[in-house]
């Protein structure tokens, strides 16, 4: 059935017209005032709290993302710092320390410097210990050769090498070479 025909078959124009005549009531003005005041209050209230926050939702979301990302980076740094500290205690080699030093964090940088200092100090101590060893025992002490095979080809060349070492301030190496020269050529007398 067509909706219009259906509608007209149910409703009655006389009844509708009669109802229109009796339906003349309007709400009291005090109710209008209450409703409209509530509507205005609701707008103000929402604008005051949630509405204000709602207008800042994008900056707030951006700030929250930044804070979260920073938190993750700091957490990651603290994990790396822990690794670097372990390496400074002798657990890992200098490669780990240099990895820690590669970070931008000041803590990690300071730790890497500390490790480098420790390594340099350790190297210095080792060198000093080696130099403090008695030099008479040539089988134990084998410092790097200062004069090569060519320069040891004759006593004169060897002596020239010792002189160069002395001139360059390598007194220990010069003394060592001189001793070897004396042992090898006991009758050699250097020219004045």
């Amino acid at each position: 059935m067509n909706p219009n025909n259906e509608h007209s078959s149910i409703t009655d124009a006389t009844v509708s017209a009669a109802y229109r005549e009796i339906a003349t009531e309007i709400p009291p003005s005090r109710l209008d005032d209450i409703v409209l005041r509530n509507a205005a209050d609701e707008t103000r209230q929402t604008r005051g709290i949630a509405g204000y926050l709602y207008s800042f939702r994008r900056p707030l979301a951006f700030a929250a993302t930044l804070v979260l990302a920073l938190g993750i980076v700091l957490q990651f740094d603290s994990v790396l710092t822990g690794t670097a500290l372990n390496s400074s205690n002798g657990i890992s080699g200098p490669g780990d320390a240099s990895a820690g030093a590669g970070n931008t964090s000041a803590v990690v940088d300071a730790n890497a410097k500390h490790i480098q200092e420790q390594m340099k100090q350790s190297e210095r101590n080792m060198t000093e210990d080696l130099l403090r060893q008695p030099t008479t025992d040539t089988t134990k002490l084998k410092p790097a050769r200062s004069c090569g095979k060519e320069r040891r080809a004759s006593a004169e060349l060897w002596w020239a090498c010792v002189t160069d070492l002395e001139r360059n301030g390598r007194h220990d190496a010069a003394a060592h070479e001189r001793e070897l020269l004396t042992n090898t050529y006991p009758d050699f007398l250097p020219a004045e």
Partner: protein, 195 residues
């Protein structure tokens, strides 16, 4: 005829904080909603309470408002639900609601009103007040809100055919009440003439 999109646009403007848009919307619907609740409740104080409650719910729901249906549908659905809740809260409401208007005497406090109006219209109003709640609800939604059968079915939550049946019964009862009043009036005049 009112453009329903205008109501939706006004509600969306109010959602964005435009109070003047709500006032326009309110002025459009306040009278019809008031009469709907007044006749549905048959009690002025209850009607006024429900009227405020309905608008209050509309106002509070503005931030969640989505234009899925016409604003009128939304408004009268809220009002209908407020009325149903009111019935549940107040069990005293269901007195005489199923009584036949022709078998029941007019309430004494309505006699004064009847004097001022034509007998047929007075009889119509009385018969309307004595309709069962469901029939009166459907009739008022049709007459005051101008809702279609489908929309009334959505608002009341009843099947469409049930709504159609209720509206037909309501209209028939009201028409009979008006005819009876006319017949009584004619018979009265004839009786006076014979005397």
């Amino acid at each position: 005829m009112r453009n329903p999109a205008d109501d939706t646009a006004l509600m969306l403007r109010y959602k964005d904080g435009d109070t003047s848009a709500f006032e326009v919307l309110y002025r459009r619907h306040n009278d019809a909603l008031y009469r709907y609740l007044l006749r549905l409740c048959r009690n002025q104080h209850t009607a006024e309470d429900l009227y405020q409650e309905t608008w209050s719910k509309i106002v509070r729901s503005r931030s969640r408002y989505q234009p899925r249906a016409k604003f009128t549908t939304f408004l009268y659905r809220v009002a209908h639900n407020c009325f149903i809740d009111s019935i549940r809260r107040n069990k005293r409401h269901d007195v005489e609601s199923v009584a036949d208007p022709d078998a029941t005497a007019h309430p004494a406090d309505e006699q004064a009103v009847i004097v001022d109006k034509g007998k047929a219209r007075a009889r119509l109003e009385s018969a309307l007040l004595l309709l069962p709640d469901e029939q009166r609800d459907v009739f008022l939604l049709h007459e005051e809100a101008g809702l279609s059968l489908d929309t009334i079915a959505f608002v009341t939550g009843a099947p469409r055919e049930t709504v159609k049946s209720r509206l037909r019964y309501a209209v028939r009862k009201l028409k009979n009440a008006m005819l009876d009043a006319t017949m009584n009036s004619v018979e009265g005049k004839q009786g006076r003439l014979q005397e």
